[in-house]
């Protein structure tokens, strides 16, 4: 990932974008994710200051 991604203009082909959106709609989301409690970690981080 690049610093430029925050500031650069990003243009994508509308057809490619729509195809990606369609694939996302059809995805079988069976992947298990870990719950990491980021908001609690964020609160804990501020207490270190």
């Amino acid at each position: 990932m690049a610093t430029s991604s925050i500031t650069d203009l990003i243009i994508v082909d509308s057809e490619d974008l729509q195809k990606a959106f369609d694939r996302l709609e059809q995805k079988d989301l069976t992947k298990t994710r870990y719950q990491v409690n980021a908001l609690e970690q964020l609160e804990a981080g501020r207490k270190l200051l």
């Binding site: 990932m1 690049a2 610093t3 430029s4 991604s5 925050i6 500031t7 650069d8 203009l9 990003i10 243009i11 994508v12 082909d13 509308s14 057809e15 490619d16 974008l17 990606a20 959106f21 694939r23 996302l24 995805k27 989301l29 069976t30 992947k31 298990t32 994710r33 870990y34 719950q35 990491v36 409690n37 980021a38 908001l39 970690q41 964020l42 804990a44 981080g45 501020r46 207490k47 270190l48 200051l49």
Partner: protein
Amino acid sequence: MSSSVPNFRILDLKSYLQCYSPESILSDLSSFKLRDGCDEFYHFLQAHPDENGKRKDNFIDFEKKHLCRVYFVLAEKIEDTTDKCILKLKSGNYPVYGYFSISVKTLYQNNIEKNQEILPTKNINMYLIGHLCKNASYDWNKGGEYMLQQCFEIIESVHQKIGMEYILIECEPELIDYYSNQNFEKIGKNKDLNQMVCKVTDVSKNLKKE
């Protein structure tokens, strides 16, 4: 690092800069170990001149301009700081496991094949995970996925309040398979980076506690 899940804390740069100087965090992060080929991450961490000799913005500049929010993932407090990238805080020394940035990005759509002028015809706002970088000193192989999940949970909390449907990342070609496995779909390429998106509503499905 052991296979057990470290007791992480996330420190947002905005809060840090209310208590400490920019110089102190730049000094602490000078030993942050990047994997090979991560020049852009290096530029993000330290200020470097561009091809015209002008200093490029680093993460502190981006934070101060409110272009993004930067978060540092800290591991357990340690006493032995030898050869470690640590953040020196009043409460102790904390190894920096990694960092990430989150912002909102406008993505412009155009049918480039039909219109060589590349004039934006439509746009769509997305969350951008602009940087997600693990300290290469740590070899915990789930670390990247864990940090990604931390991003997702922060984005999800904002999503509850302001909406928006997609999350955008840009990545090098060697990470396309990794992000595909994380339910991202490739949408295009900008310079040497590939853009990939996923749905905010999909990232919190099938959660389990470890």
